[in-house]
C-alpha cells in the first residue's frame, strides 16, 4: 500500500483516539489487520433519534490512492434508514463519493455518518422502500427504526407487537432476520408479509 495512505491513516487513527468524541464514547475506531488497509469504525446513535442508544459498526476500506480518493465505508450493523441499504449496508453520502476532499479525515467521515443518522435525506435514497416509509408513514418508520436499533445495535426500545409478528413467521419456518425485513417492508402487515413470502 502506498506510503502516503499508510502514514495518513496512522495519523488519523491517533487523531480519532485523542478526539473529544472518543472520550464521550460517541465514535470509535480499531484496526482489523496490520496492513492499515481495513479498519472498523463505530458510531453511537445520536440522541433524540430512533437510533439513540444503539452502537453501529462500520467497515472501512482504505484504497491505495487514499486520501485522494475516499475510503469505502459500509454499515456492518443492520440499520433501517433511507440513505443506508437495509440489505447490504451500502451508504449514500456525498462526501463518500463526488464531494470527498483529500483534506477530510476518518473523523470527518464518522461524524458525517452520525449527522446522517440524525438528518436523513429521503429525496436522495439508497433504500427506496425505507425512504417511501419515511415520507409516507413516518410513525411506522420511527417504530421500525427503533425496533431494528433494538434488535441489531443494542437499543433500549422493545415492541412486543413486532416481536410477536416475527414469531408468527418464524413458526412458519422463516429466518428471524428475513421475517423482520419483510414485515418492515410491508409496514408490519402480517397478511401482506406472508403473501410476499409464499407467493
Amino acid at each position: 500500500m502506498a506510503n502516503m495512505a499508510v502514514s495518513r491513516i496512522k495519523r488519523e487513527f491517533k487523531e480519532v483516539m485523542r478526539s473529544e468524541e472518543i472520550v464521550q464514547c460517541s465514535i470509535k475506531i480499531e484496526l482489523v489487520n496490520d496492513s492499515w488497509t481495513e479498519l472498523r469504525g463505530e458510531i453511537a446513535g445520536p440522541p433524540d433519534t430512533p437510533y439513540e442508544g444503539g452502537k453501529f459498526v462500520l467497515e472501512i476500506k482504505v484504497p491505495e490512492t487514499y486520501p485522494f480518493n475516499p475510503p469505502k465505508v459500509r454499515f456492518i450493523t443492520r440499520i433501517w434508514h433511507p440513505n443506508i441499504s437495509s440489505v447490504t449496508g451500502a451508504i449514500c453520502l456525498d462526501i463518500l463519493k463526488d464531494n470527498w476532499a483529500a483534506a477530510m479525515t476518518l473523523r470527518t467521515v464518522l461524524l458525517s455518518l452520525q449527522a446522517l443518522l440524525a438528518a436523513a435525506e429521503p429525496d436522495d435514497p439508497q433504500d427506496a422502500v425505507v425512504a417511501y416509509q419515511f415520507k409516507d408513514k413516518h410513525e411506522l418508520f420511527l417504530m421500525t427504526a427503533k425496533h431494528w436499533t433494538n434488535a441489531y445495535a443494542g437499543g433500549p426500545h422493545t415492541f412486543p407487537d413486532c416481536d410477536s409478528k416475527i414469531q408468527r413467521l418464524k413458526d412458519m419456518g422463516i429466518e428471524e432476520h428475513d421475517a423482520r425485513a419483510v414485515l418492515s417492508k410491508e409496514n408490519w402487515n402480517l397478511e401482506k408479509a406472508t403473501e410476499c413470502l409464499f407467493s
Partner: protein, 512 residues
C-alpha cells in the same frame, strides 16, 4: 475484387449527392430559389471540417483576445471562456458589471463572505486576475528581520508532514497544501479522466484548479498528455459551434455557426451525423423526438423482435416468400400476385392516391375502451410505426446489396462490349438517390408516431404516403434496371426527390 475504375466511379457517386448537388433542382424551380440555396434545399448546411491543430489555433486566438482585454493569464481566460460558451463579449460584459460574481460562478474564487464590501472584492478580483502561476505560491514573509528565514515551516493537512513554506501552493481560496500532495492528487484525478474540473483539496471548497498550476506541478509526460487531451475534449464540448466527428477513430472536429439538426458529413471518414445532437441524421424528426423514439425501441426490443422475420407468406397462394431485395413491392414467384410486404395488401391499390399503407388508423372509439384494450391498441400503434421504421432500415441495407449485384452485372456487360461504364453511370446515380430518399422515409415514421392527430398529421401522412409510393416505384425500376427505359427512370428519380424535398420543406423543423 473491385477494379480501379469502379472505385473511381464509386467515389464520384459519393460526391454526387452532397449538399451542393442539384440534379433535381431544375425545371420549375424559380430563380430566387436557385440563387439562394437555403431556400431551395431544406437540408442545405454550411460547415467546416477542422483538425485538432485548427481548433487549438481557433481556441487560442479567443484566449489571447481575452488576455489582452482583461490582462489575465491564459489559463484563467480558458476557465472563463469555458464557462461562457467561448463568448468573449459575454465574459467582458460580465467582468465589467461584476467581476467578483463572474469569478465566483466560474469557481476561480470562493464565494465572498458577507463581511467583504463589494468595492474591495472587485479590487481583489482585479488583482486575482493578474496572478500567474507564481501567484499560487505563498509570498515570503514581509517585515522579517535577518534572524527569521523568509519561509516558516508549515504543516500540510493532507500528508501531515511539516515543510518549509515555499513548498506550499494555494488557490484563491487560500487553502494551502504541499507540492507533493497537489501533484499526487492531480495525477489521481487525471487518471480518472478529470481535467479542468479538478477542485481544491479542502473539504467543502469548490474552487477550481486552473490549467497552469496542474501543468507546473505534474511533470510526467504521460500524465501531462492525458490532462491536455481531456481538457481539449472539454473545451470542444463546451463550444456550441464545435462537434467531434462521431466516426470511429476520426480526429476531425466539425464547425458551424448554424446550430441546428442538419446533416454534416465528415470530409475525412465520410461519417454523416446530426450536427445538433451528434446522432445519426434524422430529418424530418427533431433531436428530442428521435432520442425518445430510439429509447423506446431499445426498451421494447423484445416485443418488436418477432417482426424482424425475413419471410412472409404470399397472401394469395400462401407460399413462403423470402425478401431479398429492398423493394416492398413484392411479386410472388409462384402465383405472380403483386402485393405489399408491409401490409400484405394488393399492390394495385398502393399505386393510387388511396395509398394508405404508411398511415396508422386510430381506433375512433378508443377513449371508451377498457384500460386493457387501450394498452393493446397503444402497442399495436407502436408496432405499426416500428415495423415500418425497421423495414425501411432493412430495405436500405438490401438495396445496398442490390447495387453490388448491379455493379457485377454491369461489369460483365462492359467486359462483353455492351456499353461503357459511363453509359451505365445513371444507374448508380439512381441507386444513390434511392438510398437518400429511403433514409428520409425511414425517419418520417418516428415523426409520425409522436405527432398529434389532426389536419397537420393528415397532411404529413399524405405526403409520407406519396413519398413511399414513389420510392417503391423507383426501387422496383432499379431492380429491373437493364430493361427499364432511361427516360422513365430519370423521371421517376425526379418525382421521388421532389416528394422528399416537399416533405422536408413543410415539416423539417430547422428551416431558417
Amino acid at each position: 475484387m473491385e477494379s480501379d475504375i469502379e472505385m473511381e466511379l464509386e467515389s464520384d457517386n459519393d460526391g454526387e449527392y452532397d449538399d451542393d448537388y442539384d440534379y433535381y433542382n431544375t425545371g420549375e424551380d424559380c430563380d430566387v430559389e436557385r440563387l439562394d440555396p437555403k431556400r431551395a434545399d431544406p437540408e442545405y448546411f454550411e460547415y467546416d471540417c477542422l483538425t485538432v491543430e485548427d481548433i487549438e489555433k481557433l481556441l487560442n486566438e479567443l484566449v489571447e483576445k481575452l488576455n489582452t482585454i482583461l490582462q489575465i493569464t491564459p489559463s484563467l481566460a480558458k476557465v472563463l471562456l469555458l464557462e461562457h460558451q467561448w463568448n468573449n463579449t459575454v465574459v467582458v460584459e460580465k467582468y465589467r458589471q461584476d467581476a467578483n460574481a463572474l469569478l465566483v460562478t466560474a469557481r476561480i474564487k470562493p464565494p465572498t463572505s458577507s463581511a467583504d464590501a463589494a468595492s474591495t472584492s472587485a479590487a481583489a478580483a482585479a488583482q486575482l486576475l493578474k496572478m500567474g502561476s507564481s501567484g499560487y505560491k505563498a509570498p515570503p514573509a514581509v517585515g522579517g528581520n535577518a534572524n527569521t528565514p523568509p519561509y516558516r515551516s508549515q504543516m500540510c493537512p493532507v500528508c501531515a508532514s511539516s515543510q518549509l513554506g515555499d513548498k506550499f501552493y494555494s488557490l484563491a481560496c487560500g487553502h494551502s497544501f504541499c507540492k507533493d500532495c497537489w501533484t499526487m492528487y492531480f495525477e489521481t484525478q487525471i487518471f480518472q479522466g478529470i481535467s479542468i474540473q479538478i477542485g481544491c483539496m479542502a473539504p467543502m471548497c469548490n474552487v477550481r484548479v486552473p490549467e497552469d498550476l496542474v501543468l507546473t506541478l505534474v511533470t510526467r509526460p504521460v500524465m501531462r498528455d492525458k490532462y491536455q487531451q481531456f481538457a481539449f475534449k472539454d473545451y470542444v464540448k463546451s463550444h456550441p459551434e464545435l462537434r467531434f466527428c462521431p466516426g470511429p477513430n476520426c480526429q476531425i472536429i466539425v464547425q458551424s455557426s448554424e446550430i441546428s439538426a442538419k446533416r454534416a458529413i465528415c470530409k475525412v471518414c465520410r461519417t454523416g451525423f446530426c450536427f445538433k445532437c451528434g446522432m445519426d441524421y434524422h430529418a424530418p424528426t427533431d433531436c428530442q423526438v428521435i432520442k425518445k423514439w430510439l429509447t423506446k425501441c431499445a426498451d421494447d426490443s423484445e416485443t418488436a423482435n418477432y417482426i424482424s422475420a425475413h419471410t412472409k407468406d404470399c397472401p394469395k397462394c400462401h407460399i413462403c416468400i423470402e425478401k431479398n431485395g429492398g423493394c416492398n413491392h413484392m411479386q410472388c414467384f409462384n402465383c405472380k400476385h403483386d402485393f405489399c410486404w408491409m401490409c400484405l395488401g394488393d399492390w394495385k391499390t398502393h399505386g393510387s392516391e388511396y395509398y394508405e399503407c404508411s398511415r396508422y388508423k386510430d381506433n375512433p372509439n378508443i377513449a371508451n375502451e377498457s384500460v386493457h384494450v387501450q394498452a393493446r391498441e397503444a402497442l399495436k400503434k407502436y408496432l405499426h410505426y416500428y415495423e415500418r421504421w425497421e423495414n425501411h432500415s432493412k430495405s436500405l441495407k438490401l438495396e445496398q446489396q442490390t447495387i453490388e449485384r448491379l455493379r457485377q452485372r454491369i461489369n460483365t456487360k462492359v467486359m462483353n462490349g455492351s456499353g461503357t461504364w459511363i453509359d451505365w453511370q445513371y444507374l448508380f446515380n439512381a441507386a444513390g438517390l434511392l438510398a437518400k430518399c429511403r433514409y428520409t422515409l425511414q425517419y418520417t415514421y418516428p415523426y409520425a408516431y409522436y405527432m398529434e392527430a389532426g389536419s397537420r398529421k393528415n397532411l404529413f401522412e399524405y405526403q409520407q404516403a406519396q413519398l413511399e409510393a414513389e420510392i417503391e416505384n423507383l426501387s422496383w425500376k432499379i431492380e429491373r434496371a437493364e430493361t427499364t427505359d432511361l427516360g422513365d427512370l430519370e423521371n421517376q428519380m425526379d418525382i421521388a426527390e421532389k416528394r422528399r424535398t416537399t416533405l422536408l420543406k413543410d415539416f423539417f423543423p430547422v428551416a431558417v
